[in-house]
Symmetry: C2
Subunit: 486 residues, 2 copies
């Protein structure tokens, strides 16, 4: 191995106190510009500290930061390596591996499972099929600015106070009307609890529903990793349940499942819709076993066919369903607002858990969103985006058909913000994603949603981040990439 | 008992589906206007359902809502009663009792301890000495509106994305500069994790530090109830430690305490400052036992004497201290932004826990706050409010001295947004608060911060909600109230 200190790390004068930042930045720069290649094993902290003439703690802290940023990965009992950033395009940047655990942390948080597996690249891609993001550039921000000015005015005069943990009443009223109209969800204002996005909804539900090391929580396999993460943190016993062309295979639910998580409108990531038969079976299961269902309707506003199926929440007659909605897809994720439609028996616990966690969501954003919905802007925006996503989806399907032929097949229903494809056996999704990344195409392999082997061989193709006029070109290039490796 | 259906509840036509809301509203109205008096025992759900000719489920749900709103209280095995709202002035409205627990909830959340004990009154008080709230009416909202317009503009052009769980870099840079200047806290950008207020900081720390049913967490007695609630929810073993004129009695810490929560600048609620001797002893304890300290500096920006003492975080040389700050007092609580200055060994776990919980705080508010701090508005606002609170505090002390004489004594240091008094033995704080409430004076008895008997006999008097020119009148009336009951 080439001696590491060849990297020409320049240290500040002794005692300037900026050693950690310097070491951290220079190592990161070396990874960024390729002097440290992906897969390279790093020297031990002791060796590097000696080579640089700094304390070992400084090197430990620098490695730590790089790990938390996804630049490094740990292979337990082997060593620390430069991460392969380009190979694993991911939708966000979250710490993903833990090394050097401190005994002062509890066991789970010394080694938390990654919220989304693999480090994520922050690179911009020329053709970005990232999953789960809307096209925010088309959001009416000028209108939002005007609303902001208007909403801030009356707030000046109200005294400072903590407000309702369940969310501002005006927002809960607006949500109630919106979802009963747009999604036929039957609820009252009392059933709505406002959360910091769907992720907080999952986290609060995990808190109130899971008895650690005891409660069995059935999740879709493949499925949405951050949901699994929230329940794993609550120490649920996770039971992965297969998904077929009718959605979650309800017949495979273990008898002792007490919480069942589903994405019935548009399975994440496979895109299928839970069939009417399975919906009925799932509600039967829940009712007869005293189980609850978490219905995650993350992008159900966008349906491109004429076969709407009732939400589980609408069909439920026994208070078994928690319906989780989000404004991350219909507005934009950084607003961090979502909600739970809760059966009344769980309302008090859910509201208390929200208060324990952060008292309530920020008031200004809640009031703005309430006005945005009440004045019809949300529905107008959804209608506009519906057309845009429909066009992108349609072009995407045509392009896939034209350029890729029988090397892949589209699966799932015409719903939502992503389209799922399965690859022919001759092509490997993970390998294709790697090669495509080098061509400027970001793909999300299905195996990043899987916990069991073999994973489905394919991709989820998001169309929130790619313009209609880029799609054909992107898929044409993807087909060429297939030729190369196929 | 007078038959309950004398209340003249008018029900909507059969099948209109609004029965629950009607029953709930009419019961609430009856409590509000005094037809149902505090302490009155309600009929059983069965009896009321029969009397009204509605299903028992409807009545159960209506009681449930009223309980969650604090209008009713349960006395286990006895019955449901109308709560005594006026008697227990409280700083927020949170569900506080649980009845009718559903077995589908885990055990803790069937009966969560109240986050702040007792139901809270939402009444406006003529003289409001509520604790823990700043005077938001003096916040420069017109400036905030202009900032909002400016910050929203560039956001239009950035693609939708989840951002850093640890908080926007610009905000972390601004916080780092601010606290190193204003509080002499020594930290780097890497140490700062942005949270949804201090409450989320406590919650995340409880998650990563507590091993359920094992970790001993030492808290101040009396102390801040929402902190206890967060750690109770994580199933910590809570050890209440007494507080004397030097703050937390460090010598009384149990050997096995692994997390120690303190409010060293301004003990909540007693107002004392942790002495230099105790600070050193506390850090020694933490270092020698591998324990950590959570330093809650909730209103330390407001010091009215010239004896600043270093933050524990500043004194710490071993990475034992988590410093928690909030913008709830220096700005306003509904912004829901705070932060943790974390030692690096815990950074990754803390950031991961934040991502698991809600990904990150809302971006617009973070960017606005970053600009607000960077442009010097925060320091200017703190300076302005410092003068205002200093004046109120000084008037308050003079008035107490003038009107109440030796019936009470002021304790604690000249810091923060509240002043604490102890009452002479002849007066009972809880009884006085009740009588004062009837006179339009809201007082916060110290026993609401206590878990052990006997509690200190006194009040915390907040001056964020009362104008300088009201204070003398309020205290004069309070003295008259003392005459009545004394």
């Amino acid at each position: 191995m080439r001696p590491f200190f060849d990297l020409a790390i320049t240290l500040p004068p002794q005692g300037s106190g900026d050693l950690l930042r310097t070491v951290h930045r220079q190592l990161r720069a070396a990874i960024d510009d390729g002097r440290l290649q992906p897969g390279l094993r790093l020297p031990s902290t002791r060796a590097l500290a000696a080579a640089l003439g700094v304390s070992r703690n400084t090197v430990v802290a620098a490695y730590d930061l790089l790990l938390s940023e996804g630049y490094l990965v740990i292979h337990p009992n082997v060593g620390t390596y430069v991460a392969n950033l380009a190979s694993q395009p991911m939708p966000s940047r979250t710490p993903n591996r833990v090394s050097l655990p401190d005994v002062r942390l509890n066991e789970f948080w010394r080694q938390p499972p990654p919220i989304f597996p693999g480090p994520m690249s922050r690179d911009a891609f020329r053709y970005d099929f990232r999953v789960g993001l809307p096209d925010k550039t088309l959001f009416p921000f000028s209108l939002w600015r005007r609303l902001s000015t208007r909403i801030l005015r009356p707030l000046t005069k109200t005294p400072a106070a903590y407000t309702e943990p369940e969310g501002r009443e005006a927002l809960r009223v607006a949500i109630t009307k919106h979802i009963s109209y747009a999604r036929a969800v039957s609820c009252r204002v009392e059933n709505v609890v406002v959360t910091a996005g769907a992720q907080q909804a999952f986290d609060l539900l995990a808190r109130i529903l899971v008895t650690p090391d005891k409660t069995v929580v059935a999740v879709e396999e493949p499925g949405y990793p951050p949901l699994r993460a929230a329940f794993a943190a609550a120490r649920a016993k996770i039971a992965p349940i297969p998904v077929d062309h009718e959605g979650l295979v309800v017949e495979r639910l273990p008898e002792d499942a007490r919480v069942i998580y589903v994405t019935p409108s548009h399975q994440c990531p496979l895109g299928v819709t839970l069939s009417a038969r399975r919906r009925a079976a799932l509600l039967d299961f829940a009712q007869s076993r005293g189980a609850v269902v978490i219905e995650d309707d993350y992008d159900g506003e966008f349906r491109f066919n004429d076969r709407p199926i009732d939400a589980l929440q609408t069909l439920d007659r026994h208070g078994s369903v928690f319906y989780v909605g989000t404004f991350s897809k219909s507005l934009f994720p950084s607003i961090r607002l979502g909600y739970v439609v809760t059966p009344l028996w769980a309302r008090r616990a859910l509201v208390a858990a929200k208060a324990y966690t952060d008292w309530h969501c920020a008031v200004i954003a809640q009031d703005m969103l309430a006005a945005f919905i009440e004045e019809g802007h949300l529905l107008r925006h959804i209608r506009k985006m519906h057309k845009i996503y429909a066009e992108r989806r349609s072009i995407l399907k045509q392009s896939l058909d034209r350029h890729c032929g029988d090397r892949l097949s589209v699966i799932g229903a015409d719903v939502g913000l992503h389209l799922t494809v399965e690859l022919a056996e001759s092509l490997q999704a993970r390998k294709l994603a790697l090669t495509a990344a080098a061509e400027g195409i970001r793909l999300q392999p299905l195996d990043s949603y899987a916990t069991q082997k073999p994973a489905r061989n394919g991709f989820a193709l998001g169309y929130g981040m790619i313009q209609a006029n880029q799609i054909d070109e992107a898929i044409c290039r993807l087909a060429q990439t297939m030729d190369k490796i196929g």
